[in-house]
Subunit: 374 residues, 2 copies
Amino acid sequence: MRTEICDRLGIEFPIFAFTHCRDVAAAVSNAGGIGVLGAVGFTAEQLEVELAWLDEHVTGVYGVDLVIPSKYEGKGVEGLSPEELEAKLAEMVPQGHRDFAEKLLNDHNVPHLPDDEQVNQLLGWTATTVAPQIEVILKHPKAKLVANALGTPPDDVIKQIQDSGRLIGALCGSVKHALKHKEAGLDFVVCQGTEGGGHCGEVSSMVLWPQVIDAIGDLPLLAAGGIGNGRQVAAAMAMGAAGAWTGSIWLTVEEANVPPAQMQSYIEASSHDTVRSRAWTGKPARMLKNDWTEAWEAPENPKPLPMPLQMMVAIDGVKRGHRYPEQAKDVNFNPVGQVVGMMNKVERSADVVARLIQEYVDACERLNKLNDAL
Amino acid sequence: MRTEICDRLGIEFPIFAFTHCRDVAAAVSNAGGIGVLGAVGFTAEQLEVELAWLDEHVTGVYGVDLVIPSKYEGKGVEGLSPEELEAKLAEMVPQGHRDFAEKLLNDHNVPHLPDDEQVNQLLGWTATTVAPQIEVILKHPKAKLVANALGTPPDDVIKQIQDSGRLIGALCGSVKHALKHKEAGLDFVVCQGTEGGGHCGEVSSMVLWPQVIDAIGDLPLLAAGGIGNGRQVAAAMAMGAAGAWTGSIWLTVEEANVPPAQMQSYIEASSHDTVRSRAWTGKPARMLKNDWTEAWEAPENPKPLPMPLQMMVAIDGVKRGHRYPEQAKDVNFNPVGQVVGMMNKVERSADVVARLIQEYVDACERLNKLNDAL
């Protein structure tokens, strides 16, 4: 299953593991795949700490995932510092939305954060706030891969990353977006079907991947959305993918810094328990259905705001949910794909990688056996 | 790619083609797959004509697809003739719904049917109206396979079909339904992901198929939802499917009795142009998004009724759309899956079968090449 992108990165298996947890990223990289750390929740200073830790614990390479949305409120406002942009955007959030979110959390008895824990509302959700993150990445040679969620990265970012000898790619949920990525000169696309966790489009992996593969020609496609075992990896590779981009399955590994109560929610959920909702980030993302997602759907309630304003409303809920996961059980932010129905036990990250490979091999053998019988 | 179910049916390839058109069914059966005729739109008398034609034109075997929903309004009412049941159900349809449908069609200048074309409102949408269809099927030895949409068929139907030496299976969109099918003793399940055309659940093929395969063990799973080329067939088989159940792609073949204007709608549509809606049959089904589907979604308008009442409201629109497809372009019933984005030209049915096989072989070879490089 070794593909060209493995050679370019110097990894053994084209198994890409998106995670917000450095321990998981390191474990996957050290098991022959590549861990990709989601940077959106970190300030530049925090990201520096994470990457320094990864440098120390990863023998080969790892990746970093950024969020530079193509479209968001406040885009194109020049010359503001991250703090000034945050202040300006904060003024655009209706008080009614903040009150509604606050009431939802209070009605569920989710405690407030201690007063000394100030929440940074914007984090890495805009080009302005991502720029310092990129500076950090460039200081870490093992950070060999950069992926961008939510659109083609700006030309100067692409150039900066590629000139440094790194690969840069971006996520997409449609042929149109994939072609935009190709035109911009990206090194790969991560093509995610609607069943995927977090931000996703409307078209399923089975239908989307082959169309994008045909459209982008030689550019490597990493298949995302719905992959939780090696049979699905084999399916993706049979259709022409250059690798498998996984995310959800790393939420229930031993090393994940997911609170036990939240991990339990994932373990118990079936594939029917997710919803594609704008209720947390302002753009459609897949997550577990719960009282929070239902509340923002109800016709009589406020509607989710555009990105990043909704996240500025919701970030307090994210933080309180992370800190008090038991109380927040029914209003927590639980981004995950439909593959959650296959996540039924806690495994070690290295064991997941080994399992994916073994299941992949078994699937290929099954196929060959069928064909021998032809 | 020959699987056990091929041997049981006496077919060469496990390519199952669901279609409402006998010409397509015959062409697929004669090309080595098996055509499965959707019976829901036919009275028993009409079905007899279709199957007699198929007997004459198919060298091997074909299948018939029925609709016996597990749940529908009027279920369990004993001792009524089809005509009496229809009259009883007709009383349950609010006049406001009929008026709304009529206005929608008139606003789009879709002509009325000639007065002498009486529309049978219920057709094969209930157990009562399906019973005469089953009698017809049993008279045709080449009708070797029966599939039921929308639930496990009643025990007596299963026994009747199996005792006659035929195979009977049913569609499912969840593990729960698949297990119910298995428990009832069906010979196979057709497992359809949310991307599929017509009635479908919420979980995507990539995530659903492997879970159902694991749940049902030895029972053959025919993979449905999203399959339009042989790479997708290979993906399904790699995951453990016993065959590929296709539907949408037969809407744009040369032999299809789909009016040219409607076929053009399918050819032009992208994978982003479908919606899962209750607006035609009363149960969620995937179809092209248009003014009709939007109108039944708008908060201020009547809501779709449960099956089969909504179909009794909509059947006039189905018939008028079929007869006047150009005028009905924006309010026609266009059931199709997301794979519609891959349906970009009109092909002969036999060529589609040959293409699926060739693409399947190519995909398997690609996979083997990758593995040789390991």
